[in-house]
C-alpha cells in the first residue's frame, strides 16, 4: 500500500504558522519577563513571513490538495493577507494595554496565532470537516483569550457565556452538516454542490440541514436572533481581546459563509435567501435601535457590529457575484473601521483606567485634537457618511441588493442607518461639543500613534480612492467562483 505524498505548497502558510507558533511556545518558556518582547517580535515576524509565503504562492487558478479537502484560491489569499494585517495591527494596539494588565505573556500571542491558524484553515477549507476544524480551533482559542484575565469575574463570566453558546452553535452546525451528508453522500463542498445542482438529494432533508447550518453561521456572525452573546462578550472581555474578536474573525466568518452557502449550497439559494433577508432586517433593526440605549462604548460598538453584520448579509442574499464581492468589500472595510474604533478605546485607557464609558470620550477634541479627528473618521465611516470608506461599503451592498430586486429591504436598511447615525453622532458630540472630564494626558507609544493615524487616514484615503480595494475584491471573487 502506497501513501501518496500530498502537495503541500497550497497549505504552506498554514504549515509555517503552525511551526512558528510551536516554536514560540517553546522559546517563550525560556524567556524572562524582561525579554518577553522577543515573543512579541517573533509573532510579528511570523505574520510577516506568512504574508510573504501567501503572496509568493499565489496562483491565478485555484489549487486543491489533501484529496480536495483544502483549496488555495484568489479569495483565500486575499482574505488571509487581510487577516495577517488585522492581527498584526491588533497586536500593536494591544501591546501597551496587555502589559499594563499582566497579560503580556506567551499564551496571549500563542493563542492569537492559533486563532489565526484556525481562521486560515476556515478560509481555505473545501470540506465540511476541515471547515469545522478551523472553526473550532478559532473558537477555542478565543474562549481562552477572553478568560485570560483570570482574576476578572466579568471576563470569566463572558468566557463562560461565549463557550456555552458557542458550543451550542457548533453543535447545530455539525447537525446540519450531518443532514447534508445524509442527503448528498459527501462532505466535500464541490461534490455537495454538484449533487444539489442535479437535484438528486432529498430536498426536505437538505432544507432541514440548511436551517441548522444557517443557524450555526448566524451565531458565528452574530446576527439576530443569534446575537445574544455579542454584547456580553464584547463588554466582558479585556478590551484587547474584544479588539481581536471584532477584527480578523469577521473575515473568517465571511469566508465561512462563502464556502458553505455560496460554494456548497448555491443550489439552495432560493431557500437560504429568505432566511438571510429576515436575519438582515432584524439585525439592522435591533443592532441600531438597541445601540442608542448603551452607555458603555464596548457594548455600543457590539450592537453596532450586529447591525453591520446585517448589512453584510445584504450582499450575500442578492445571490450574485456582484453581491459577494460587495460583501467582501464590506467585511474588509468593517474590519478596518472596527479595529480603529476599538483601538481608540485602548488608546484612551491607561494603567488602572478603562475608557469604557461614552463619557470618557468627552472633550477629546480639547485634549488631543488629532485622535478626536481619527475617531470622528471612524464614526462617520461606520455611519456610512462620505468621504469615508464606510459609505462605499454601504453603497456597494445596497446596489447589490437593489439589483436583486429587494427594494423594500434597501429602503429599510437606509432607514435603520439613519437611526444608527444617531449614536455615532453622539460620540462625535461628546468629543467635540463637550468639555473634558479629566485632563490626564494621552500619550500612546510611537508605533501605536503612527499606526492609529495610518488607520484613520486609510479610512479617509480609501473613501476618496476606493477603487483598488473594490477591484481586489471583485478579482478575488471572480477568480474563485468561476
Amino acid at each position: 500500500m502506497t501513501f501518496p505524498m500530498p502537495n503541500l505548497i497550497p497549505a504552506l502558510p498554514e504549515i509555517f504558522v503552525l511551526v512558528m507558533v510551536s516554536l514560540i511556545l517553546i522559546i517563550d518558556l525560556f524567556l524572562s519577563a524582561k525579554n518577553r518582547f522577543i515573543t512579541y517580535a517573533l509573532t510579528q515576524i511570523t505574520l510577516l513571513g506568512a504574508a510573504w509565503i501567501t503572496v509568493s504562492t499565489h496562483g491565478a487558478v485555484p489549487e486543491y490538495t489533501f484529496s480536495n479537502m483544502f483549496v488555495d484560491d484568489a479569495m483565500s489569499d486575499v482574505l488571509k493577507l487581510m487577516s495577517y494585517i488585522a492581527v498584526s495591527v491588533v497586536l500593536v494596539y494591544s501591546r501597551t494595554y496587555i502589559s499594563q494588565r499582566g497579560m503580556f505573556r506567551g499564551e496571549f500571542f500563542a493563542l492569537a496565532l492559533f486563532a489565526l491558524l484556525g481562521m486560515m484553515v476556515m478560509i481555505s477549507a473545501n470540506h465540511f470537516l476541515v471547515l469545522y476544524m478551523g472553526l473550532e480551533l478559532l473558537s477555542l482559542s478565543l474562549y481562552a483569550m477572553v478568560a485570560l484575565q483570570r482574576d476578572s469575574s466579568v471576563a470569566t463570566e463572558a468566557a463562560m457565556k461565549y463557550f456555552v453558546l458557542g458550543a451550542l452553535a457548533s453543535g447545530l452546525l455539525l447537525y446540519g452538516m450531518s443532514m447534508l451528508y445524509g442527503a448528498t453522500g459527501s462532505l466535500n463542498i464541490n461534490q455537495v454542490a454538484t449533487v444539489i445542482q442535479h437535484s438528486t438529494g432529498n430536498h426536505v432533508v437538505l432544507t432541514f440541514g440548511l436551517v441548522f447550518i444557517v443557524a450555526g453561521l448566524a451565531f458565528k456572525l452574530g446576527v439576530v436572533p443569534f446575537h445574544m452573546w455579542i454584547p456580553d462578550v464584547y463588554q466582558g472581555a479585556p478590551t484587547a481581546v474584544t479588539l481581536f474578536i471584532g477584527s480578523a474573525p469577521k473575515i473568517a466568518a465571511f469566508a465561512f459563509v462563502m464556502r458553505l452557502l455560496v460554494e456548497g449550497l448555491q443550489g439552495l439559494v432560493q431557500d437560504w435567501q429568505g432566511m438571510l433577508v429576515i436575519m438582515a432586517v432584524l439585525s439592522m433593526a435591533i443592532g441600531n435601535i438597541v445601540a442608542i440605549a448603551q452607555t458603555n462604548i464596548k457594548r455600543m460598538l457590539a450592537y453596532s457590529t450586529i447591525s453591520h453584520m446585517g448589512f453584510l448579509l445584504l450582499g450575500f442574499l442578492s445571490g450574485s457575484l456582484n453581491g459577494y464581492s460587495s460583501s467582501m468589500f464590506y467585511v474588509l472595510v468593517y474590519v478596518l473601521m472596527s479595529v480603529g474604533g476599538f483601538g481608540m478605546v485602548l488608546l484612551m485607557s491607561r494603567q488602572g483606567f478603562e475608557a469604557e464609558n461614552l463619557d470618557d470620550f468627552k472633550g477629546l477634541n480639547q485634549r488631543k485634537p488629532w485622535y478626536a479627528f481619527m475617531m470622528l473618521l471612524f464614526m462617520f465611516s461606520m455611519a456610512g457618511i462620505p468621504p469615508t470608506v464606510g459609505f462605499y461599503a454601504k453603497l456597494s451592498v445596497l446596489q447589490a441588493a437593489l439589483q436583486a430586486g429587494f427594494l423594500w429591504l434597501v429602503v429599510a436598511a437606509v432607514l435603520f442607518s439613519v437611526i444608527g447615525a444617531f449614536y455615532y453622532l453622539r460620540i462625535i458630540k461628546l468629543m467635540y461639543f463637550d468639555a473634558p472630564l479629566d485632563d490626564t494626558p494621552i500619550r500612546p507609544e510611537g508605533d501605536m500613534a503612527i499606526l492609529m493615524s495610518t488607520n484613520g487616514l486609510a479610512v479617509l484615503a480609501l473613501g476618496i480612492m476606493p477603487q483598488p480595494l473594490m477591484a481586489l475584491c471583485a478579482y478575488a471573487i471572480q477568480r474563485s467562483l468561476l
Binding site: F391, S396, V414, V418, L425, Y432, A474
Partner: protein, 494 residues
Amino acid sequence: MSEGSTLLSWVIWLPILAGLLVLATGSDRNAQFARLIALIGAGANFLMSIPLFTGFNRLTSDMQFVEKASWIETFNVSYHLGVDGISVLFIILTTFTTLLVVIAGWKVIEKKVAQYMAAFLIMSGLMIGVFSALDAVLFYVFWEAMLIPMFIAIGVWGGPNRVYAAVKFFLYTLLGSLLMLVAFIYLYHKSGGSFSILDYHSIQLDLDVQVLLFIAFFTAFAVKVPMFPVHTWLPDAHVEAPTGGSVVLAAIMLKLGAYGFLRFSLPILPDASHALSGFMITLSLIAVVYIGLVALAQSDMKKLIAYSSISHMGFVTLGFFLFSDLGMEGALVQMISHGFISAAMFLCVGVMYDRMHSREISDYGGVVNTMPKFAAFFMLFAMANSGLPGTSGFVGEFMVILAALKVNFWYGFLAATTLIFGAAYTLWMYKRVVFGPVANTHVEHLTDITKREILVLGLLAVAVLGMGLYPLPFTEVMHASVNNLLAHVAQSKL
C-alpha cells in the same frame, strides 16, 4: 475655451486645501496666522471663480469647463465636473459668501479659530463640488460630506441649545439624502450601469416609477430647501448656529435643495413633475403665506429671519413648478438675491449679537441713536427683504408673481400677499429694534460698526442694489440653460 480646463477642480480643491492648511496651524496661539491663511484662501478662491463667470459662453446650454476622469471603475463612477448657466451663478455666490464669512468671523470667533475657519473653507469647496458634479455618486459624496463641517460648526460655536440643533440638522438631512441615494442606485441599474446625471436625463421611465423617484428626491431636496412641512429643523439650526453658520446655511445650503430640483427632479422626471405640480405649488404657497405669518409672531430676530427664509424659498419652488421661463428665471434670481439678503440680515443680527449677546427683539430699542451707520445698512437690507423695488428682492418675487398670475389668478394672488406679510414682519422688527428711544443701558453703550463690518455689509449692499437695478448680467447667463431645462421638462418620458 472650456475644454481641457482644470479651473473647476481648482475652485473646488483650493478652499479644501486651504482649510487643511489652516487646521495645521493648530492651537489658538497661532490664531492670527490661521485667520490670515483663511482670508488668503477665500480671497484667492473668489478671484479664481470669476473667470468661470466671465469666460462663460452665454449662447449655449451645454456643460462648460467640463472635466472627466475615471474614478471608480467597478461602478462606472467618474470624476465628472461641469457647469451650466444655472450652477455657475451659485459657485460665484458660494465663493463670495465664504469670503464674507471669513471676514465677519475675524474678531468674533476667539476659541478654536483654526477649526472654525477650516470648517467654512472646507464646506465652501464641498458646496462648489455639489454645484458642479455631473456624476451622481460624486454629487452625493459632496452633498453628504458637507454635513460634517456644518454639524461641527453648529455644535462647537453655536448657542446654548446647539447640540440639539446640530443633531436634528444632521439626521433630518441624512434621512432625505439616503432616500436620494436609493433613487440613484435605482437609476444606475435602470440605465444599464451609469451614474452620469446627463445620461439620466434621457432614460425612459414609467409614471409610477417616476412618482416614486420623485418622492425620494423630494425628501432629499425638500428637507434642504426647506419646504413646509419638513422645515422645522431650519429655525433651530439657524438660531443656534454661529453667525457664519447661519449665513452659509441661508445663503447657500438652502439653494442646494432648490438646485437639486433643477438638476434631478425636473429633467429626469418630467411626467411626475407635471403630475405632482399641484402638490408642489400648494406646499410652496403654504410656505409663502403660512410661514410668513409665523415669522410675524417671532420674538427672536434670528428665528424671524429663518422663517422669512423659508417663506422666500417658497417663492423659489413655486417658480420652478410653474414650468414657464419667467417663473424659472424669477426663481433663480430669487435664489441669488435671497443669498445676498439673508446673508446680510444674519450678519446684521450677528453685529448686534456680538455686542449685546441677545437675539431677543425686546432687549433692543433705539439702536439708531447709538449705531447710526449700522441702522442705515440694516434699513437697506430690511427693505430688500420685504421686496422693495430697486433692491434685488423685488426682481425675483415680481417675476414669479407675474408667472403665477399667468397660470392661475389665485396662485398669483396668494404669492403676492408676501409683499404685505414680508414688509410687515421685517419692518415691524426693524422698527422695534432700531427706532424709538434708547431702551436700556446696554443699548446706550453700543458702539457703531467697525471698518471691517462696514466692508462686509458694504459689499453686500452693492450686490443687493446692483442686482436690483440691473439684473441683466444674471438672467443673461442663465437664459440658455433655463430654456434647455424647460425643453427637457416639456418632453414626456412615458
